[in-house]
Subunit: 270 residues, 4 copies
């Protein structure tokens, strides 16, 4: 503190991106990420790899996982990716088994999205069903298969990525909110049943826009070309911060497990 006025915080709190700077020693354990997409899913893979886990990532178009694998390995981590359509029960079971084959599986994270917005009258049977298959039923497959493996291993973590729509049915979100609320209720039921079996089930509500190319395009579309230039720092969520939240959940000792937490940027209106 100087004589001229109150100091600001001497030591800023951690930047999300730097938290995993030092790679941990390798662990004889694996983590599976269903929905290892370019942003949140990828960041989760990076984080758990940096913490020493062998990480298995699945997504549609598995060939798009090459840069992620390269990045993780360049940082000294271990990553295996493959194509995965999480709507296919058999594919999910196989994927989880693969991640559990050579070392004990310790955490499974479900991160498949399907955000769409349609007026109710324009919401087709196809859309309603497909959104549910991706955002809810795929989560059920993932959770059940993860439970099967983790029970055999004596415990572990199963985490689900939620959104604002998980707890709010906004205009135009009949399909998406329905699927996300369904995923959340399924997760809650699993948490109550599997907690006593030493499995930590949690549901993370992302209540804001994440910093992705898609969100940035939407900002430009609604506010003009200059909007990004004037975008205040930390007003979009960094995927790495979401990954950190999962890491924190996984580190909780079992006498104090969290089922649900929300995440949003400091300046968000909610």
């Amino acid at each position: 503190m100087t004589a001229t006025g109150p100091a600001t915080l001497v030591e800023p709190r951690p930047q999300a991106a730097t938290l995993a700077a030092r790679p941990s020693a390798p662990r004889d354990a694996s983590v599976a990420v269903v929905g290892a997409g370019d942003y949140i899913g990828g960041a989760i893979c990076e984080k758990f790899a940096a913490e020493g886990y062998r990480v298995f990532g699945g997504r549609r178009g598995g060939e798009q996982l090459a840069p992620l694998k390269e990045k993780i390995e360049a940082a000294g981590g271990r990553f295996e990716g493959r194509s995965l359509d999480a709507r296919q029960e058999g594919q999910v079971a196989e994927f989880i088994a693969w991640a559990d084959a050579d070392q004990p599986l310790e955490a499974v994270i479900f991160n498949v999205g399907a955000n769409v917005n349609f007026p109710i009258l324009e919401t087709t049977e196809r859309v309603f069903r497909k959104v549910w298959e991706m955002a809810c039923q795929a989560g059920f497959f993932t959770g059940r298969e993860a439970a099967r493996r983790l029970i055999a291993r004596g415990g572990g973590s199963i985490f689900f990525t939620g959104a604002t729509a998980s707890v709010r049915g906004g205009v135009g979100y009949a399909a998406f909110a329905s699927a996300k609320a369904g995923l959340r209720a399924m997760a809650e039921s699993m948490a109550r049943e599997l907690g006593p079996r030493n499995i930590h089930v949690a549901h993370l509500i992302i209540d804001a826009g994440v910093d992705t190319a898609f969100v940035r395009q939407r900002i430009v579309a609604s506010q003009g070309e200059d909007a990004l230039e004037f975008l205040a720092p930390d007003t979009l969520m960094n995927p790495a911060s979401i990954a950190n939240a999962y890491w924190m959940l996984h580190r909780q000792s079992r006498d104090g497990w969290t089922f649900e937490l929300d995440l949003r940027p400091f300046a968000e209106t909610w």
Copy 2:
């Protein structure tokens, strides 16, 4: 009040069963009930028929609707029933259109249930999907087709029957709670979108056992043959009370609409 102590209530509050005693004059309007089952659904049909509406009821095994039709007609009401598999989009559209054909449709009530309980590892893809198709997707079909008709008519009511599982994922209810939470979120989204179009969407949470043969059997199974004899009055919900709640919702003036209300017996532990 007598001299010997405080009186009890002079005039007991209404018995559910007697509320609709006097049949109203016929109205030139119809009500459709998707899931016109033996208890709640049937009671809803009776109530709206007693209030003067021409009621259209659909259920699987439509031939089982004969006694309901007979009962309603004996009381001076009008009822048409038919077989309906609410999981079939086309059947739902046709059913709603049928109810709207000869007089304006004014209310549509979705009352399809699918209560099952399985440990998560024993919850099959088939169960998870079927429960969702019945308890959630069928509600979406019903709501959307009802909206289509009611928008054309200038307004009306769309109501959905919920349960404890709509807001709580209990042990063993991964499939059922997921579907019911999904139905509720869908209804909430519809309520926000359709309210301004003069359509009252509501969701009724039945947070207790309803007086049905099935529930009575369960009581006997868990508490013995005598349990029913000693069952205190009003500790199970009368289907007619649920029907009355729907009627009250339908009667609300549009400056003060309810989206959600819960219902449980006075002595219920919750």
Copy 3:
């Protein structure tokens, strides 16, 4: 339905104002309204008086109750009013006892408001405490004294008026939301404890602006003189509609009681 297109609703749903048109026969029972203000509280008094109850209303500045008494009596009803500072435990006990003295008390409705908005740093101890005393502690006094009387009478209703702030702590509402959330939790605890004693405790969430002079002034202040002229019908809540909701709750048979319901106009954004 005519050949030229779909008809609109033939019989519009009831106008709030006309529901109580025919006065009921007098009942040997009374209702007490704590917070018998000019709008909601007054409307509740009118409604229950129209339904045959002898109504007792209390508010600060009891002399302002004269027009209400006149209006109710002109309509054939019975009303007694007096000054009541509901923050005073003794005054509340006395008021409830007065209402219960000559005929059995059957329902007590708490309707005291204290809506204020201050930035957190400008929220004084005095404001925080006074808002709580009015919106929460007064409700506790009312509920507890009502319970005492109604238990002796064998049952009855205790209802509390809530607001959006009951379930949402918005910016500037630290004091008001805290008090309203506190009232709601107290009501929920009472509902669970008193239900089995035949007392129906309910909490009504008014999630919108009510049609009052104050709200109309605010509309003019924010949108200009003409705003009221173009105010769409039914976009503000009619106090009579709120009174009707209380009446419906009171009429519920005890095998199916509602603890909570929300109310908002059809066109409200929420």
Copy 4:
């Protein structure tokens, strides 16, 4: 994985008690704990001291803080304690100012409890008010004074300890649930207002029994002398695990802040 069957987790997840084993380098920043009691509050003090902060703890009967000070200092940390009646606005302001005087205040944690259970008719005005003063109004004082200081410092954390009663009004908890729900709503309002000012407000729901002498006595009282002997490990929450949760919240980068999370042991029924 051995040939004889699936291995259990090779590396168990961290024990709460050992997380802060290595003391961090001292930071030029302070943390204030209002309600530095023997269990949760004390553990929070220990944790933040171990992370390098100078910790200021306040409680009634400040002389009881001597062992905590000794323990923290023996571990290489810094701690200052004093008597604090958090129901006194002036004392709270002075306490927070004291903690902020010599180095910038960075986090303030409110941890005052007041758990009581009374039937509604036996809940006196005195109990209702005192519980609120301790569990809610003291939190308001703490939050507001913390905000005042942290705004001047450019940011920081304000955390509140909640309980099951924060979100559920159970039987006999009219006073406690009312106060805790009031605290939660106040915290939510603060979070929305102060987030954009770089202040992280969070509310932690402890949904289970914490491992304290009081809870152990209750277990003996209800289940007999032997109950503790057979108490399964990790079925009571370790205060250190709660402290770890606060630490994790404080470490979140501001692009992804949590407002609320729950905590309960793995085997808890909920």
